[in-house]
């Protein structure tokens, strides 16, 4: 509030104080409305004037200052000591413990995660190597079976080839024999034909050469 407004009225506070109890019963609203205004002037007025003991606005009563300062120094000093020596280390310790614990737990969690990752990697590696091994075994078995089958087939083919060759030679033999027989039959037939046609027997050599010349064409 305005300190400059002081001086002019220095008494209204006493008046207001004196009137208050009486007025309170008759026109309370007025009494209360008047009071704060009155005391505002008073506080400034009295503060700059002489301190008058009981009439002074209480917070500006300088007679209480020394005692308040002393007790504030004692109590606040004590409070500061209690805070800095007991309470703050205690709460700080609690918070620190919690931070440490959280950090520790986080470390533990990341360590476990790394372990789990390593286990997964090892598992996958095992799986991959097992798969390659399986593939190798399978392809070896397949190759072996194939080779065996090939050998079998080659053998069968060879024996078939032999049989075919044997059959072919026999066919050739029979053919040759048949062809040889054809000559004799032709000679006999020719002899008979000639005999029928001309009534005389041709010599065997003549007929043979005649058949040969025809067969040679």
């Amino acid at each position: 509030m305005s300190v400059t407004l002081a001086s002019a009225e220095s008494t209204p506070f006493e008046i207001a104080q004196a009137e208050t109890p009486a007025d309170a019963h008759e026109t309370p609203a007025d009494a209360h409305a008047a009071q704060p205004a009155g005391e505002v002037h008073t506080e400034t007025g009295v503060a700059h004037g002489e301190e008058a003991g009981s009439g002074v606005f209480p917070p500006f009563d300088q007679t209480t200052f020394a005692s308040q300062l002393l007790w504030l120094a004692i109590t606040f000093g004590l409070f500061y000591l209690l805070m800095s020596k007991v309470v703050i280390p205690r709460i700080g310790g609690i918070l620190e413990t919690r931070h440490d614990r959280i950090a520790q737990d986080l470390d533990e969690a990341s360590r476990l995660k790394a372990e789990a990752d390593a286990a997964i990697a090892a598992y996958e590696q095992d799986l991959a190597s097992a798969r390659t091994k399986g593939n190798a075994i399978a392809s070896a078995a397949r190759d072996e079976a194939k080779a065996k089958a090939d050998a079998e087939r080659a053998k069968i083919e060879a024996s078939l080839q032999d049989k075919i060759a044997g059959a072919e030679t026999r066919i050739a033999e029979i053919k040759a024999k048949a062809l040889a027989d054809v000559g004799t039959i032709a000679e006999e037939t020719t002899t008979a034909l000639v005999e029928q046609l001309i009534g005389s027997k041709a010599t065997k050599a003549e007929i043979a050469s005649a058949v040969k010349s025809v067969a040679g064409k």
């Binding site: 917070p59 109590t75 800095s84």
Partner: protein, 250 residues
């Protein structure tokens, strides 16, 4: 006398003590300073007794206030300012507890005494000045000479800086004091309306409803102000301490 809104700020002697002609009596103000220390310390001490890895609700409140002030100070004054953490934390808890205790009916509000808030403000500024000179010697005076100001303007700027520095303890103490004082007077005035109006019979009771609502609403507002003023006090303390730690850079 009970309707006098300033009655609640009266300092009464409980145990009269006088040393060397000066009155050092144990008063109701002293009693509530002791109560503030006891309540704040007791709360912070006993809620953290379990040292739970997973905090209980009350332990969370203590931890939150710790971290709240720690981050405020780190942002305000940097990591070098953290050596003032016990100081700022004590200030904040003391002012907050005193404000909140003052909200209880019949309780004395020690932060509504200008001498208390002024003493706390002087403690802050004194710390700034002493630490500033201790740490930086006369380099601390660079605080009043902002970098990059043309030579012609320098006297003007420096005088403004000096005045603003000198007005800090005043603004710091008056802000807290005036907020608490005005809030309590307003509450008392509105609550006084309720009692005196309702003494007037049926019409008065009807008329008392509005001030009653105002009283309830103001009570909520005052709790907010109690916290806010403690917060503002602590934030400004951090800013001023920043000047002591880093006088050159703004």
């Amino acid at each position: 006398m009970s309707n006098d809104p300033t009655h609640q700020f009266l300092v009464n002697k409980i145990v009269p003590i006088e040393i060397g002609g000066i009155d050092f009596s144990f008063t109701n103000a002293s009693l509530f300073m002791v109560a503030t220390v006891a309540v704040a310390t007791g709360f912070l001490y006993f809620t953290t007794g379990q040292r739970g890895l997973v905090p209980s609700r009350m332990q969370s409140v203590s931890e939150m206030s710790y971290e709240f002030i720690a981050s405020m100070l780190r942002e305000g004054a940097g990591s070098h300012g953290m050596k003032f953490f016990p100081f700022v934390f004590s200030l904040f808890m003391f002012v907050l507890t005193a404000n909140l205790l003052g909200m209880m009916p019949y309780f004395f509000t020690i932060t509504s005494q200008i001498i208390v808030t002024f003493a706390l403000a002087m403690l802050v500024i004194g710390t700034v000045v002493v630490y500033g000179f201790y740490k930086h010697g006369f380099g601390f005076l660079k605080l009043f000479v902002p970098a990059g100001v043309p030579g012609a303007l320098l006297p003007l700027v420096v005088s403004i800086e000096v005045i603003s520095f000198l007005s800090r303890p005043i603004s710091l103490s008056i802000r807290l004091f005036a907020n608490m004082l005005a809030g309590h007077i307003t509450l008392k005035v509105f609550a006084g309306f309720v009692t005196s109006l309702s003494a007037l019979g049926a019409v008065g009771v009807a008329g008392a409803i509005l001030p009653l609502f105002m009283t309830v609403a103001l009570t909520g507002l005052e709790f907010l102000v109690s916290f806010l003023q403690a917060y503002v006090f602590a934030v400004l303390t951090c800013m001023y301490l920043n000047d002591a730690v880093h006088p050159g850079g703004h």
